[in-house]
């Protein structure tokens, strides 16, 4: 996982709102030219019980810009491929696309350090890629093939990677789980934080508030991130939530509202959050306001509860990729040719992965009873009738 964080001192020079800076996990190289950097104003934040917010401007090197653009574009492309695979019936069950929300993940990930962890709900394809799984690993999990990152046993909602705990299918359950991962960071005193992501729909689940309470009581390094895309399935935020100010709904937990369509802003907000959390102040709630272009899942055309015009308007005025592209082109951080080259490379990579994801075999029947237990103690696993016993097998490494 390469981290392309420019000189932090430079980045935050002259910014008075942030006093401490999260350590950089990996500095890959120093080859980027200081000539190739530009400073951007971040979108305005809203603060809840915070005296200071994140940096209001941020510097991007050319290398940052290209890397972020590439990640945004890969995720968009993965989701387009996922949607197509679903339509041609290569993906079974559910399939929830992230298109429109890419800037949340890419900005956050650009600020994360190797020690940090993350857990999210079922709209998880993009995050899985960012956390280190290949495009093929993601797409062939969707098609249920052996090259899938869960060997086809999890499907589109259950993808995992190092420091990435899914991919969870029960709305809201991932939030206390994330607080528990943060508990482990604190217990080990390893300096890491856990990001627990949930949607505006899950934001009303009771267990979120239980997790808030304990996270604050115990000062857990947990950053609760509400991705508000406007709709929990087909129910708009106004119809589901007595307060739609999700960043303030942690009450005693300070909160931050962020324009989730602007990748520079989400990166700065995340940097601020890591800094806040690791300084021992405990948890933080972030609301990232964003938008999903597709329906809730592939079976939802997404048109009965909102208008096509609404979706079109967001695409035209707030699209996270188009707006970032314009920004880095006009600032000279990238040239049209460079971006085109990236687009071509990504198309090729995703197209190839899509092809393999359809042609690879599924795992063999012996894996039906694979990895039910880390340490199996059953003499055999029962199949569908008494004369069809299964042998438990271990596909993953055991310590």
């Amino acid at each position: 996982m390469s981290k392309l964080i420019p000189s932090v001192g430079k980045l935050l020079g002259g910014v008075t709102t942030t006093t401490k800076v999260a350590p950089i996990a990996v500095i890959t190289n120093a080859k980027y030219s200081t000539k190739n950097e530009a400073t951007f104003e971040t979108k305005p934040y809203k603060l809840h019980k915070l005296e200071k917010g994140p940096a209001t401007s941020a510097t991007l090197t050319s290398e940052d810009a290209l890397s972020m653009y590439e990640k945004l574009a890969v995720i968009r492309r993965i989701e387009t491929a996922s949607g197509n695979l679903y339509k041609e019936k290569s993906v079974r069950g559910f399939c929830h696309l992230y298109s429109g929300q890419e800037a949340v993940a890419v900005g956050m990930h650009s600020a994360m350090r190797d020690i940090d962890s993350l857990i999210t709900a079922y709209r998880c394809h993009g995050w899985t890629y960012l956390m280190g799984v290949s495009v093929l690993g993601v797409l062939s999990e969707l098609t249920g093939r052996r090259t899938g990152c869960s060997r086809g046993k999890g499907g589109s909602m259950h993808l995992y990677a190092k420091n990435f705990y899914g991919g969870n299918g029960i709305v809201g359950a991932q939030v206390p789980l994330g607080a528990g991962i943060a508990f482990a960071h604190k217990y080990r005193n390893d300096g890491g934080v856990c990001f627990a992501l949930y949607g505006d729909g899950a934001a009303n689940q009771g267990q979120i508030f239980e997790a808030y309470n304990m996270a604050k009581l115990w000062n857990l390094p947990c950053i609760f991130v509400c991705e508000n895309n406007g709709y929990g399935m087909g129910t708009s935020v106004e119809r589901s939530s007595a307060s739609t100010d999700y960043y303030s709904r942690g009450d005693y937990i300070p909160g931050l509202w962020v324009d989730g369509m602007d990748v520079v802003t989400t990166r700065e907000a995340t940097r601020f959050a890591i800094d806040y959390c690791t300084s021992g102040k405990g948890p933080l709630v972030i609301e990232m306001e964003t938008y999903r272009y597709s329906g809730h899942s592939m079976s939802d055309p997404g048109t009965s509860y909102r208008t096509r015009d609404e979706v079109q308007a967001v695409r035209q005025t707030r699209d996270p990729i188009t707006s970032f592209k314009e920004k880095i082109l006009s600032n000279g951080l990238a040239t049209a040719d460079q971006l085109k080259e990236i687009d071509t490379k990504i198309r090729k990579e995703v197209d190839e992965a899509t092809k393999i994801a359809k042609s690879e075999p599924e795992v063999g029947p012996e894996e039906l009873a694979g990895d039910i237990y880390y340490k199996n103690l059953e003499p055999f696993i029962r199949g569908v009738h008494p004369n069809s016993p299964l042998q438990h097998i271990e596909t993953a490494a055991r310590n």
């Binding site: 962890s117 857990i119 990152c149 869960s150 060997r151 046993k153 999890g154 259950h158 995992y160 705990y165 899914g166 969870n168 299918g169 029960i170 359950a173 939030v175 206390p176 789980l177 994330g178 607080a179 528990g180 991962i181 943060a182 508990f183 482990a184 960071h185 217990y187 856990c194 009771g206 267990q207 239980e210 997790a211 309470n213 304990m214 009581l217 115990w218 694979g370 990895d371 039910i372 237990y373 880390y374 340490k375 103690l377 059953e378 003499p379 696993i381 008494p386 271990e394 596909t395 993953a396 490494a397």
Partner: protein
């Protein structure tokens, strides 16, 4: 003689000492010394970091415990009783039991959920349910149910060391009951195997399979029957999942008669599962009479003493069931059910 409560504490204490990753959280486990005093003294010894009082928010703290296990710690999640764990059952099943499989072995979940289960005394329906059958139906979980102090210590230590999620069903009424403990069992190295039943009493005439507190009822009945010349073989399951059917089958091959005994409800209960396994296996041909289940009555637990007694299997019920099965006096009652 060591009460079950102290045996459980010994297990937790020894395992916390052995492995820094082990910690306990739950309601009143720290400063209050445990709602039932199982964790007495541990907070003083290990402090806030490893003995963690939670608010009364089961789904939240169970989720936090499972998340900590995802991240490699070894939590012991205490429920004040398993009745309250129903608020948290999503995390026990969907988060803990299924994640290792769904992740193709990428995310192990080494956690113990423990606390008193089943009927206590005079606490009525909402506080008196046995969950053995519920949890034991779930692949991915291991389910243990100790009876004696040795069971409690040896099985809890095994559960804490086990790399999979374990549901550990205790019994409030037995917490204060002292049992003899061998020198071996007092050692910090004493661990019982998960998935092995214990023959508590050998006998040739009929097999009684039970677990947890019901083992006491079975042994009581066996004593009474011994006076009448009937020798019962009493099998204390210890582990409901994996279920040690081999030990049951061996016993049936000897006694040719079987009774299951549990405090939980009859329908889809542990006894029902054992009956089904007998039906599906060559053990069926060993039987000289149909198997009978002796269970809690098929009613929510009443509060008042006389009715509560009727709702739970007593020694006399077991004696009567043994007489019926051995005497082949089973037909009419069974058919009319």
């Amino acid at each position: 003689m060591v009460p079950v409560r102290d045996a459980l504490k010994q297990a937790i204490d020894e395992e916390m000492e052995r492995d820094e990753k082990v910690f306990i959280l739950g309601e009143e486990v720290a400063q209050y010394d445990g709602a039932y005093k199982v964790t007495r003294g541990l907070w003083k010894k290990y402090g806030d970091k490893r003995v963690v009082d939670t608010p009364i928010t089961e789904i939240g703290f169970a989720g936090i415990a499972v998340g900590a296990a995802f991240a490699g710690l070894r939590p012991i999640c205490e429920f004040m009783t398993f009745n309250f764990a129903m608020q948290a059952i999503d995390h026990i099943i969907n988060s803990a039991a299924k994640t290792f499989y769904m992740s193709a072995g990428a995310v192990p979940v080494p956690i113990v959920f423990r606390g008193p289960n089943g009927a206590a005394a005079g606490v009525a329906a909402q506080h008196s349910q046995c969950f053995a059958a519920w949890y034991s139906s779930v692949p991915g979980l291991k389910v243990l149910m100790p009876y004696s102090s040795e069971d409690a210590k040896g099985l809890l230590k095994a559960a804490i060391r086990d790399p999979d999620p374990v549901v550990f069903l205790e019994d409030e009424i037995v917490y204060g009951v002292p049992f003899p403990m061998s020198d071996e069992a007092m050692s910090p190295d004493f661990v019982l195997p998960i998935g092995k039943a214990k023959v508590e009493r050998a006998g040739d005439h009929i097999t009684i399979v039970c677990a947890g507190k019901a083992t006491h009822t079975a042994l009581d009945a066996a004593n009474e029957l011994a006076g009448k010349g009937i020798e019962c073989e009493v099998i204390n399951l210890r582990s409901i999942r994996p279920l040690d059917f081999q030990t049951i089958a061996q016993s049936i091959a000897k006694t040719h008669h079987l009774i299951t005994l549990e405090q939980g409800w009859p329908q889809s209960g542990v006894g029902a599962e054992i009956c089904a396994r007998v039906m599906e296996s060559p053990s069926f041909f060993e039987l000289d009479a149909p198997v009978w289940r002796v269970t809690g009555a098929d009613v929510p637990m009443p509060y008042t003493r006389s009715l509560e007694t009727l709702a739970l299997p007593q020694r006399g019920d077991v004696v009567a069931a043994v007489a019926a099965v051995l005497g082949n006096r089973i037909s009419e009652a069974s058919v009319s059910q």
